[in-house]
Symmetry: C2
Subunit: 270 residues, 2 copies
């Protein structure tokens, strides 16, 4: 009886979420006029702040955002940046932020940071980004990232003394920010949840969805996004992939490692 009730409420909430998404989009146009500060009444009960920045990796963010958008009408996702100018992802996707740092609620439910390469280095070095993340991150219920986004969280002082993960190529850098690197797809340490490279964002988000709602709810989201992965090859981690692929990607990221080292040495952790 209890299971049945839980399941029914999950169903209702997901259905409501779908309706709400459509309505929200339908009424989104007039809201595009810039406002200095969004009034409190515009905030949902649970605000999910997702950082975007020039040359971020779009797939790091779009996987989790798809999951979060189905969490129900009391949740709302925002793409946050310094301004609302269209910015380019590292694969050339032009995306427009939906909320500025100044407009953000200071006590969000979730703060989320995607990764990148050059974009990650620039974000690590940016005092405005670190200040914003440090501020909202200290009050958020969950502090989260995918891929090299964990290095940005680290630079903001949010992973000091926490276990965390990152893209397999970037894992080594977490120690520079006082975190303990763990080579797993999704790593949770208290309210810090970090995902590994790029596609790990989907596994991360479903894990978080089950905690925010419940397992049945997360399973419904998984079914809706038909997440029944069948990779054509077994090459998604450095142990399974051809040695030549691993060596090539390691060689390609030599400049990135140097840039992160250099940026990290200039960032003074709080």
């Amino acid at each position: 009886m209890k299971n049945s009730t839980t399941r029914r409420s999950a169903i209702m909430a997901l259905a409501a979420a779908a309706t709400s998404t459509t309505q929200r989009i339908a009424s989104a146009e007039p809201k595009q006029t810039p406002a200095t500060t969004a009034p409190d009444s515009q905030f949902a009960e649970h605000e999910i702040l997702m950082l975007v920045f020039p040359q971020f990796t779009a797939l790091d963010l779009i996987g989790p955002q798809h999951v979060f958008a189905l969490l129900g009408p009391s949740y709302r996702t925002r793409l946050v940046w310094k301004n609302k100018d269209v910015l380019q992802s590292d694969t050339g996707i032009p995306i427009q932020p939906t909320m500025t740092f100044d407009e953000c609620p200071r006590t969000p439910s979730i703060i989320f940071v995607p990764g990148g390469t050059d974009g990650t280095v620039a974000a690590i070095e940016d005092p405005d980004v670190r200040r914003f993340l440090s501020d909202v991150g200290s009050k958020a219920n969950y502090v989260t990232s995918v891929c090299t986004g964990s290095l940005i969280l680290g630079a903001a002082g949010l992973l000091k003394g926490y276990k965390a993960t990152s893209h397999w190529l970037a894992l080594r850098h977490l120690e520079r920010f006082g975190a303990t690197p763990v080579s797993e797809r999704v790593v949770q340490d208290r309210n810090r949840i970090t995902g590994a490279g790029v596609t790990a964002g989907i596994d991360f988000a479903l894990t978080l969805a089950s905690q925010l709602q419940n397992d049945d709810y997360a399973k419904s989201i998984q079914l809706m996004m038909e997440y029944d992965p069948k990779p054509p090859f077994d090459s998604g981690n450095p142990k399974a992939a051809p040695a030549a692929s691993v060596q090539m990607l390691e060689a390609m990221t030599v400049p990135f490692h140097a840039d992160v080292e250099s940026a990290a040495s200039r960032v003074k952790l709080q």
Copy 2:
């Protein structure tokens, strides 16, 4: 020796792709001034035209686009629509098209169509969309889709006599457009390749990448995007998911089915 050479050339191409992506993004700003027709010299050797439209599902497109962006410097992805106004995805992501229908090369390497719900119905009913797809689709090397994007391809007359797939909830509608529905994650029939719902786009794109380049190349992309999926639940298809989830999603999509039926009845296949 031969394997080693093949592998090396894949490595070079992927490395070049990464460099090219960074350079392209760095030099993207000045190109934003609208041009009526892009001169031929602006086209890459292999143009990948990815349709976007109001209320499309961003994850359907961003997964494949991430893979395609790593195909090498001779490939270039475009987000194509009637104009370059920022449009909203069905989960609320504002994305800006990068090329108009009029600017597109008429003989692309690949035409790709993502899905949606209301957005898919509107695209099916839009004669401009059908005309554009029918035109470039008849000349493209590959005609492809993810999720309900296959219904849009179908409405453009591009799947008549072909096997195809779609989101599990939408598969039934393919017959209306003269296609044979196949319940598989990725379905290829000659040069038509269709993916199932949302996340199937990643499996679809890696499959296509291996055909455009080779298996080793696709494996390197898979490693770069750390596609080593570990879903927290086994609920990604209607056979594995809880019966209540399946029933709920079926119930939620009753209006969508009616809309597709109605749209299909008004579209006259060529």
